[in-house]
Amino acid sequence: MKKLWILVGIILLLSLNSYSQRLRSIRHKIGDAMIDKVIDDAVNDSDNENTDQNNSSTDESSDKPAQKPGGSGLDNSLDDVPDALAQASTEFNAEEYRNARTSLRKALRTLEIKIGEQLLVSLPENVKGLPVETDADKVASSTKTWAGLTIHREYKNDDNWASISIYNGTTSGLATTAIRSGMYSSYEEDENQKQVQIKGNDAVITYSDSDGYAISITLGQQTFVAIEGVNIASEAEMIAIAECFDYEKIKKTLGDQ
């Protein structure tokens, strides 16, 4: 869904006419490349799946021992923000700009993970009878993903499923502009897509037999919320799920206006 959203965002970006001259120049240079990147990533994902299948059959005939579960894995602990800031300051004054940038990005990652965790705590634990699946909670920093700071939560009861993904950053700002200007809609009349409002926020709702419902909501200047629903009975029920979330609080937590 994230890749699809990014791809949609890119396509919208490329068609935005009202953006500043400077960004237009930049967009020219990297817009096409971004599309290539997203497509490449999607292709690589499927390639990796194939490779994994091939490797498993190869491993059976080699002497390489199987990995036992319980390894310590990677250290994903968060960097200390004051330490990273002090380090960046020292490096900047020594004109070690590359190192200073790395230190600041460490601080930024920690801050964004903390903001994401704060936001997850504030989200409801149940939406219209669907309890939260806390194992699926995810926070990704803008230092790791092009979509910006990303917060994801899922809800599930039997075959009924819903999720909320919150994106905050530059690309999210472009997507919000596209939705507000109506550019998100297709040029043709599409019976499975329409513009709605969720608690006063501009949004687009779509439906497909294969994927169910999806609502894209614009918040503030740089925040974009995607809510998905599978096996949700009706548009009204999907909108009711979307209305379970406190968008003012989301905006406030992200410092958006």
Binding site: S25, I26, K29, A33, L111, Q118, T170, T253
Partner: protein
Amino acid sequence: MKNIISLFLLCVTIAFTSAQEFDKQIANAKSAYDAGNYEDSRFAVQNALHEIDMKIGQKVLAVLPEKIDNMAYVAASDQIAGSETTFAGLFIERTWDNSGAENLEFSVITDSPLIGTVNTFLALPSIMISSDSNQKKIKVEGFKAMLEKKVDENNNITGFSLMLPYSNALLQLNYNGTTTEEAFLSMLKQIPVTKITEIAR
């Protein structure tokens, strides 16, 4: 002499102001973090990152020549954009122009999405890319790069482009005009590629 002194003083003033702004943003980030206001701290860190991007961009522009062959650099076209506006990484651009008859665009994009594509091309055996006679691999100061000749429908040269990936960045040159490959490579020699790769990584 007077102009040189004025320019020097201006550079010193800009550098001092920039350092002051960076220190201010770091102080803001720390005090907001200590107060548990992570969003304000994040905003200050993003501003500090912007200051660093500007410094890196200024250093790259400073090592670029003001003239390349008959083309003079267009001061107004110099651009530096930080990661907060490009959704990729740092973006630096300069253009040289010869009264509209020809121009050369230089850019560096860090965290560029095109790096993977270009690296894939550069990793391919020559036999796999020989079908396109307008593209080839070359070496520039030891770096592998992709050179492309641009032609019109009558096969007349309309320009050249070069993509050179390094570290997490992509250096690009885009020449528009009629020239030979040798002349384009001669222009390329006037760009301090190694020095740029050391500054903007």
